[in-house]
């Protein structure tokens, strides 16, 4: 289809021209999804680690639930957050609906289970290897968790990237709680949805290409940091 060629050209022109609207949208996408990924890590990593090392009744069931929550539909998360933040809802007095904060909140709920479930698996595997050593050192559970998180840090960075990827790519939650308001809550995915609905498919595709390049850039930066850190710690 000719759309692809013209979209690549359009994406190129958009980026090169430094279109102010595009920059604003890109920066908001990054701000919202990186914040959500950071918050999801703050919640998900300790939670995943705790479940990895702790032994308690109902643990297996909890893991099944946690894994299932990785498939949370964004539009349902958006709806639930909308109902809470709506003026008619319990948190309406905060006035957060249709703000970037609401979008960060929704994406955090969406990806925290992904971070928790994936980190639980990574850390549990590692815990199996380290268990004897931990025992011989008589480590408390808290210190064992910290040691595990530190030793698994490179794998956990990939877990965080999986969360970020899901956040930056979703449209269902942010379009409901953000409202896709121009110059306020419009991000890459909602802009793509808008261009598609206006029938400007080559522009929609061009924005999609920019979004992919953006995700590629974030991953490349993280990978570079990760590699140089790994080299230092092994060298």
């Amino acid at each position: 289809m000719q759309d692809f060629g013209s979209s690549f050209a359009l994406a190129f022109r958009l980026v090169l021209s430094g279109d102010a609207d595009l920059i604003e949208i890109v920066l908001l996408s990054l701000r919202v999804s990186l914040s959500a990924a950071a918050l999801a890590c703050a919640i998900g990593l300790p939670l995943g680690a705790l479940i990895a090392v702790a032994r308690f009744r109902g643990r297996e069931a909890l893991i099944v639930v946690l894994n299932a929550l990785m498939g949370l539909p964004p539009v349902v998360v958006g709806l639930v957050v909308y109902l809470q933040l709506s003026r008619a809802g319990p948190l309406g007095f905060l006035g957060l609906l249709y703000t970037p904060t609401a979008m960060i909140l929704a994406q955090t709920i969406l990806i925290a289970p992904i971070v928790a479930a994936l980190s639980r698996q990574v850390l549990q595997d590692m815990h199996g290897e380290y268990d004897e050593q931990f025992r011989s050192l008589a480590l408390t559970r808290g210190r064992a968790v910290r040691a595990l998180l530190w030793d698994a840090r490179f794998a956990l960075v990939t877990v965080a990237l999986a969360g970020f990827g899901r956040a930056v790519a979703e449209v269902g939650a942010v379009i409901i709680v953000g409202g896709n308001i121009d110059h306020l809550t419009r991000v890459m995915t909602t802009a793509i949805a808008l261009e598609t609905s206006q029938g400007d498919l080559s522009m929609a595709l061009a924005l999609g290409i920019v979004l992919m390049v953006l995700a590629l850039g974030v991953n490349a930066v993280v990978q570079t940091v990760q590699l140089s850190a790994a080299r230092r710690s092994h060298g």
Binding site: S86, R87, A88, G89, G92, F93, G95, L97, Y98, G179, N180, I181, D182, L184, L194, T196, S197, Q198, G199, D200, L201
Partner: protein
Amino acid sequence: MTPIPLIAAALIALGTPALAQTRPIVVQSTTSTANSGLYDAILPAFEAETGIDVRVVAVGTGQAIENARNCDGDVLLVHAKPDEEAFVADGYGTSRTDLMYNDFVIVGPADDPAGLAGADAAAALARLAGSGALFASRGDESGTHKAEMALWQAAGIDPSEGSGDWYRETGSGMGATLNAAVGMDAYTLTDRATWVSFANPQSHRIWVEGDPALFNQYGVIPVSPRACPSVHTQEAQTFVDWLVSAEGQAAIAGFEVNGQQLFHPNAPAPS
């Protein structure tokens, strides 16, 4: 010199920045007005004049009304008069004003397989139902969907019998439904504004237009502070007053896409 004028002067001095710092308003709007670019065309003048930041949430009329009932908007701008009147009657809106109109059109494939050319709306739908041609419906309780249902009723046809067969309910916005109609060679009902500004018509074209039954009236309603204490009433009223003023109406009339005027102002002259 008494201290009172001094106090008054101080209050005015303190009060001025507060007045200048107006609060933003959220407009719960139908998609056609936003997607056609109307707001981009008329809002800058209003915002420059008043300093009020207007934040537009563009969703279907059904969802816009529901959001406004939840107090998540300061102004409602949609096109489903009975629902708007119910909104006001239920106490959610202070008053409803006609703002502008345009019309619906039935668009379809270039070869007009159902032979709708020249028919009025009811006859066109009757022809369509028996022809084997496809029809894409919004199916989302939007203003356009409600207008479409009224047209089927006037034609004496229950399209739901063909649901999933020739009657395809997309459950999506106007743009998405137009994309679907173009993609599957179906007819669909659309407001003229969205159609004229739609960039992916391919070979689809208008087959039915000009029937009085296709009239499409837009109304505007400030959300009531009695139902929703959190609304920014003053700013909302300022915005509505501006829309129906000579200046606002002229701005609406002056908005064109491809040389075509998309909305015709018809607010009653302010008394």
